[in-house]
Each structure stands twice: as structure tokens, then as C-alpha cells.
């Protein structure tokens, strides 16, 4: 039975939710370790994509997942499935005992090698992925905030007692001329202008000119701390708060003061019962769009007040690009590693923070900040905002 939550006792609300397994396919490699090692090394994974060069469009760089051939027919399914399998294996869990909260992003539109138009439904991809899981099976559709919202919904379902374990995250296969031309029309992607391709995406930097589109998948196994301990599994981090909001401002741009973004961060803090001063680091959305970065920086400065100069901020999109529905999940994986190690990776390609983007940026090399509690945020097209708070697992 589902629907009405059966147990609303205080005990249920005290359930602790931890991350026990992760899987990541990104422009930095095929594993979570590849992603973390690349970020810590300040190494960009964005590069020239030859098939984009051959197509003759104005955007030839992106975050390609090389682990799965770009012309593989079921690439959307394969990329997601590999991340999911890695996460389940790391957690030593079976899909048949887990719920599934996932975003497969937008439908894939592309031309194949025979120049036929190919349309693959994100919904059908979700259904195929979900078939081996148990209820609830929810497909999240919240644009670029989807991955973070999937994790937040899974967190709430476990915390409320509805389920004990869940695979959550997102995947996206959108690095195609179809979407690149579309996003170029919205002036959101970095077009080529003679830069080194790996420097196409520069979050918060004065040279920034938009994001690099990317493919990817991020999967996390969430379960109760009690369940993890009973199975003898060592959690990577704990999820302690989640918040959502809407800008209610404009479909194509954020409000410049970042009010909607700030609201979801404050809701996540309230959900966790924390004050802003108790956050040790931020994993920023940091798309490298002109207005987006300004709004995010403004929101973070207001959230932290006079402490903003002492809260390290880092973003991953300079290294792996914007993997859309997967972005929030990949970023949560990085945030979990920060909680576990205390280390905040640098924002790849950030050299000169722009006026208005002032924050305590981590530049050039990782910072050992002994960060135990991290705020991870995502902001979607249309003004859909989501924030998670992760922390190191304590007794």
C-alpha cells in the first residue's frame, strides 16, 4: 500500500538517510573515482568533439562520455545503467530491494550515421531502467534541477518511513547538434571563439560565456543509517536537508538578486535544522552563464551574510560541462566526497572571478578545509531550484 504515510511518529522523522554507493559516468571518466581524481587534479574533461566539428555547427566542444560509443543505439539507457550498477555494487545492494527516483532528462533527438532522424523517448528509457526496481518508481522532470530533486524526493521518502532504500539520480544524453543549436539560440552555451576547447566553460570567471553541454549519469544509493550499519556498509555521507523553490520570475533567466535560489537554500537549512554558519562548503550550480553566476553569487552572499568570505565555493561544470538531468546527482557525489575527505576541489577554469561573482572561490588547487557539511544546489530552466545538505557521518 502507498499514498498515505502510515507512521508519523517522531521516531520516523528521526530516521537518518545515508549514501552507501555511487556511480558516475562523466567527461572525466567512467567511475566516481575518475570524477573525483580529475576534479582534485584541476583537470578539465571538456574537449573538442569531432562529430560536432564534422557537423559544421558553431559549438564544437562538450563533455563527452567516452565510455559508451556515441553511435550506440541505446546509449541513453547504457550510460544510466552503468552508473546505477556501479552504485548498487558499491552499496552491496540489489535493485529488487530498492525504490527508484530518477530523471532521464529530455528526449534525445539526433541524426544517425545514415542521416535518419532518430527520436528516443526519455520516458521509455526511464521505464526500461525502472523495471528491475520496486515501488516507488518516480521519474523526475524539473529541467536542470532534476538530479537534485530526485535525491531530495528519495531522501524524504526514506526519512518518512515509506521506504528503506532507494537508487536516485539522473542521466542525460543531449550532446547533439539538435540541442546545441537550440541552446545556442538561447545564448546559454559557450560558442567557439578561438579559445582552447578545454577552457570553454569558466564558471564565475570574467571570461565566462556560457556552459558546455555534456552527457553523463550520476547514481546514488540512499538508505537508512540503521540499514547500512546492519549490513556492515560504511556510508560515504549523510543527507540531512532538502529544499525546493521556484523563481516565479522568467522562463529564460533568473532574477538578478537570486531570491528564488536563496529561498530553496534556506528551506534546505530549515529542513536540516541548521544555521547558514554551520555550512562548511558549497557545491555551486555554476553554469558559467552571465546572469546565472551573478544571481547564484548574490544568493550565496546573502545567505551567509558577513561569513561569505570564509565558506569555500566550488563548481564542477568547468571540468565536466552541464550534464543537465545528471548534473545535480554528479554534484551530490562530489559533495559527498568533500564531506568524507574534508577536501573542496577547485573550480576548473576559474582564474579571475568576475565583478559581482565574489565568493570564497577555490581556485587552482584543492583546499583541505576539513569541510564536514556541504550545501549542493541546482537551478533549472524556468526557475526551478533545489538544494541539498550533506554531512560527514558521525556516530
Amino acid at each position: 500500500m502507498s499514498g498515505a504515510i502510515e507512521d508519523k511518529s517522531g521516531d520516523m522523522r528521526k530516521r537518518r538517510v545515508v549514501i552507501t554507493g555511487t556511480g558516475a559516468l562523466s567527461a572525466l571518466g567512467r567511475t566516481t573515482q575518475d570524477l573525483w581524481d580529475g576534479l582534485i587534479s584541476n583537470r578539465p574533461g571538456i574537449r573538442t568533439v569531432e562529430r560536432l566539428v564534422a557537423s559544421g555547427i558553431c559549438v564544437t566542444t562538450g563533455g563527452e562520455v567516452e565510455a559508451v560509443p556515441h553511435d550506440q543505439v541505446d546509449r541513453d539507457h547504457e550510460i544510466a545503467n552503468r552508473a546505477i550498477d556501479d552504485a548498487l555494487m558499491a552499496a552491496k545492494r540489489e535493485a529488487a530491494n530498492c525504490g527508484f527516483i530518477w530523471s532521464t532528462g529530455l528526449d534525445t533527438f539526433q541524426a544517425n550515421s545514415c542521416h535518419d532522424f532518430v527520436h528516443r523517448s526519455a520516458g521509455r528509457c526511464f521505464s526500461a531502467l525502472a523495471s528491475r526496481f520496486v515501488e516507488p518508481k518516480r521519474m523526475i522532470a524539473a529541467a536542470c534541477a532534476s538530479g537534485t530533486q530526485a535525491l531530495g524526493e528519495a531522501f524524504r521518502l526514506i526519512k518518512s518511513g515509506r521506504i528503506d532504500a532507494c537508487v536516485a539520480g539522473g542521466s542525460s544524453v543531449m550532446l547533439t547538434p539538435f540541442y546545441l543549436i537550440g541552446f545556442a539560440g538561447l545564448q546559454a552555451v559557450a560558442t567557439d571563439n578561438g579559445d582552447h576547447p578545454s577552457r570553454a566553460c569558466c564558471p564565475f570567471d570574467r571570461r565566462r560565456k556560457g556552459f558546455a553541454l555534456a552527457d553523463g549519469a550520476g547514481a546514488l544509493v540512499l538508505e537508512t543509517l540503521e540499514s547500512a550499519r546492519q549490513r556492515g556498509t560504511r556510508p560515504l555521507a549523510e543527507l540531512v536537508g532538502f529544499g525546493m523553490s521556484q523563481d516565479a520570475f522568467d522562463l529564460n533567466r533568473p532574477c538578478e538578486d537570486g531570491a528564488g535560489a536563496e529561498l530553496c537554500m534556506r528551506r534546505a537549512l530549515a529542513d536540516a535544522g541548521l544555521a547558514p554558519q554551520e555550512i562548511n562548503a558549497v557545491n555551486a550550480h555554476a553554469t558559467a552563464t552571465y546572469l546565472g553566476d551573478l544571481a547564484e553569487a548574490a544568493a550565496l552572499r546573502r545567505l551567509f551574510g558577513s561569513d561569505w568570505k570564509h565558506v569555500p565555493v566550488s563548481g564542477v561544470k568547468g571540468a565536466i560541462g552541464h550534464a543537465m538531468a545528471a548534473a545535480g546527482a554528479l554534484e551530490a557525489i562530489v559533495a559527498a566526497h568533500t564531506c568524507s575527505t574534508g577536501i573542496v576541489p577547485p573550480t576548473v577554469n576559474l582564474n579571475e572571478p568576475d565583478e559581482g561573482c565574489e565568493l570564497d572561490h577555490v581556485i587552482g588547487e584543492p583546499r583541505d578545509a576539513n569541510a564536514q557539511r556541504v550545501l549542493s544546489v541546482s537551478f533549472g530552466m524556468g526557475g526551478q531550484n533545489a538544494a541539498l545538505i550533506l554531512q560527514r557521518v558521525t556516530a
Binding site: 499514498g3 523517448s121 525502472a130 520496486v134 518508481k137 522532470a141 521556484q246
Partner: protein, 253 residues
Amino acid sequence: MAYLVASAERRDLRAIQKSSPETWRRVRRYNLPIQLALAAAEDVVPECRDPKTAVVISLAPCQPGSADLYRWGDVVTSGMSNGTLGDLRMNPTQTLHAVDNLAMSAFAITYGNQAECLGLGGAAGQAWCGLEATLEKLDAAEVDKTGETVSAEEVLLMAGDQDAAEESAAGIGVAMLFSRNARPYAPLGRTVRMIRVERRVQPYDSTSRPHAAAGLCELLAAIKNQNQGLLSYDVPVEQTDGMGSVNIVVEIS
């Protein structure tokens, strides 16, 4: 407790243009599923205590896109084969047709809604996840650290979809407004309490037909046909995800 207090269905764009020009002005740039979902949502707003604070759960279409978007796909394909892709510029409005859940954002912008929200959908059977999430939001008794109750008072569940995106021919928009507090559901003049959503695993059934809105409309029809008492509504298999049966229990009094 979750009470259904209002609902609306929209199927005809021309009727919106004719009878609700203001609504049409707001929705015309979107694709058909979003136009119909938004028009239906606007129909239930007058019953909403406060559209700024209602939790919005929005179901993205299972058939996204539009005829314009598919035509654009053909243009891109031609551009690839004849080497003219570099000259193409996409109309930003058509880019919007590809984005999954803009109905939620568009509603928020129109009504200044910054409340908690949930974007679901795109796959078969997700409408029932939306209904489950509605019950969860209204039943949750969360209290934040200041002691403030942050549970939802009202949830707006909205969905729009179309039969074939390539043609943008026919579609359905539906909106259902739920309240934590008992209020009569206008079409019946009675209270309609959503009790639970029950699920059972069953062998895969390939007759499942992905559609974000059709199943909710059929549920509403069943509720309107029930005069009083308990309604145990078995969701037709074509409205499920094909992997399990769904039963919805409703009390009308």
C-alpha cells in the same frame, strides 16, 4: 487528509482562444500539452485559497515536443546530410517545446508561486505517482526547527499531454486541486476524500499507453459517476506503467 475540491479538463485550444483570451495570451507560445495543462490549472485557481502558496505537482508530457519541433528535427537532419548545419538558427520558442516541465514554471510566474514543488512525469503511469505524492504532501506533518508547520494546505496536481507530438493534433490538460481541509467538490456537492493509492506487482503488460493526463480524467469521470460511499477504482492497465496494478480508494460523503 486529502480532499479533492476542484478539477478542470481542457481539450480544445480554439475554445480557450475564444472564451479565455487572457489565458490564451499567456499560453500561446508553449506546445500543446503545456497550453492545455496551464488552461486547466487556471480554471481551478478560483477555488484555490492562495495560488501563491499551493504546492504544485506538475506532470510532464509523455509525448513532448510539437509538430514545429519535429519539423525542426528534419531540418537538422537535412543540414547534416548537405553540410548546411552551421547556417541554421533555431527559434528559441521551439527550444522551449523540448523542455520537459515548463508548465510548472509558467504557472509559478503567472501566480507568483514560490512554494515547494515537484516535477514528475514523462513515463507511463507517472500520473499515479503524482497522486501518491499529493497524498504524501498533504499527510506529512513536518515541523521545522522554529516550530512552524511546513506541511502543505493545498496541492495543485496538473498534467497535459498529446496523442502524437509529430502532429500536435489532439491533447488533454487536467488540473486537480486538493486540500488538507474538508470542502465539497463542486461537481458533486459532496466531500471527496482520497484515502489511498494501492499497488500490486504483476507480470509486464505491454498494452500500457503512456499519457500524463488521460488516466486522471478517467478517474475524475469515475468519481463524478459515484453518488456516495467508497469508490474502489481499478486503474485500467493501459493507464499504468505496465509493471503493476493500481487501485485508488476514494470516499464520497
